[in-house]
Symmetry: C2
Subunit: 350 residues, 2 copies
Amino acid sequence: MACHPALRFGTVSMLVLAASAASASDLQEQARELFEPVPSTIPALRDNPVTPEKIDLGKALFFDPRMSASGVFSCNSCHNLATGGDDNMPVSIGHGWQKGPRNSPTVLNAVFNIAQFWDGRAEDLAAQAKGPVQAGVEMANTPENVIATLNSMPQYVEWFTASFPEEADPVSFDNFAKAIEAYEATLITPAPFDAYLNGDEAALSEDQKEGLALFIDKGCASCHNGVNLGGNGYYPFGLIEKPGADVLPPDDMGRFAVTETADDSYVFRASPLRNIELTAPYFHSGVVWDLKAAVQIMGDSQLGADITEDEADKIVAFLRALTGEMPEVVYPILPVETAATPRPTGEVLP
Amino acid sequence: MACHPALRFGTVSMLVLAASAASASDLQEQARELFEPVPSTIPALRDNPVTPEKIDLGKALFFDPRMSASGVFSCNSCHNLATGGDDNMPVSIGHGWQKGPRNSPTVLNAVFNIAQFWDGRAEDLAAQAKGPVQAGVEMANTPENVIATLNSMPQYVEWFTASFPEEADPVSFDNFAKAIEAYEATLITPAPFDAYLNGDEAALSEDQKEGLALFIDKGCASCHNGVNLGGNGYYPFGLIEKPGADVLPPDDMGRFAVTETADDSYVFRASPLRNIELTAPYFHSGVVWDLKAAVQIMGDSQLGADITEDEADKIVAFLRALTGEMPEVVYPILPVETAATPRPTGEVLP
């Protein structure tokens, strides 16, 4: 119920804003209460110090298709850094040409989400990284085979040792996941909206500012707030009016599968909106290709708000101000296999 | 018949070697007669001037999975620049989880091959680039859909216009292929063996020099010579003794399918050997994972030479001196789709 319009403008401490508030417009001040810019440095991770060695290792793992049973898919296949950190498909195609159950979300800025996956079932990116690699319809691998693959290549063993120098047994599935998490923490994309929040009134166009004001006034920011304008809370999809079965398939009950609590039926993590311009199609069902249409569906289903064509255009203009600058990614050179490396297999197990 | 041992040491002009021959060892001189180092600049292409704009466009196309019908495969999927320019599978997995008929060769230094594909059916890399994108078991796309996809994204249209500035209709399937060819021409990997050919006697270890001498003396260099130590001529696989049906499947008659000449039965382009350490499994059938085993099969089938274990080890040591330095590849940021972009489809047509 946190997104009920009455709760829209909760009490927010103004202390942190005091320093620069003098020169800020009302809209800018209002935005600073609701949203946060991405930080200028790589965020710290719980129980996982981010080091240059770990980032490099994580990048190699992220791009290595040998982490899948078939040798076809890497993390980057469905979270492609060339195309907004996702794969631009309704649902991903994985092992054996099987389709995944939900749209692949972007990995960009995912470190700022409160939890991972559409239903928040992974508490952090390290927990998330262990999922797709084992999912039968995605990479269809096993932790044992991942570790055997990594141990078969001396270069990987060296990199793990350098990344986890205190550990007697550095090549582990936990550390595989931690290295990927460390790399993903670097995938932060400062956008014009951050410049605006950081004090540059001119960083948004007039249309974008009107869109921002509408985004706040209509109630979008009730669920889509914080650093990622979403990704930090759980809400029923169809709070006011359930969308059609194509957009909200009845058999995917969202967070209910995680908590087994009736209240969580059709509850999903509010989608983070950074780089939303780059990550069509939209929603967990991945059936809506047009961003304006997605905005209007949200207006109907979550807010009961009458969003006009012109208003939707302005909100979309604002959302485009969330398209950030990608960090430069030098494509990794991966370790070469040895005789001990498990062979790829495209076999589909029943 | 060009690889008959009697033809091993043909007449080669010594003129180009005169300048530095004074300080070169006999082995070095012999090597310079048979092999050529990679050039220090991007090679010129026929009818396709290489410009920075075209290279950047070609790189984007090379990495863009939207060039496939499904949105799953890019050129880089099977010619992965992270893993030696190939995919480390016996045969690639493509559209609908179908398997390709032959092992994917490396794209690295492919510009120096006399023609492309195992049977040389494409005269150059531009002709090659048009193949997999249309092959039903690979990317399963059509030229029309590729062009519609490119035209739907203004950024691509701009890039084509900048790459082919003289042309009224720059976004064409021919230019798609030319841009990829231009990018691939940059994928050259200077190796220790090039340093050796260029005059650095110390660039090879003693084992590698012995391996080089064996590579020449046993007759390997009869077919594997030139810049790519192969890739420049066609030879029957099984000249002396046909290998087993696993290595040489009877239903793949190689160049016969191209020329329809009986003499071309089981004739293939001699495999280029640069970066061979990185591109297991070997042969067009992709069934041999061990490089030493591959060397021994070649000794038996092509030369009738008795290659001892020790000799094979030394030849492998030499082949490792062909592992080159990859150019740094900055991962591209691809244009974003629009409402006009054709949707990906994983559907497998009969």
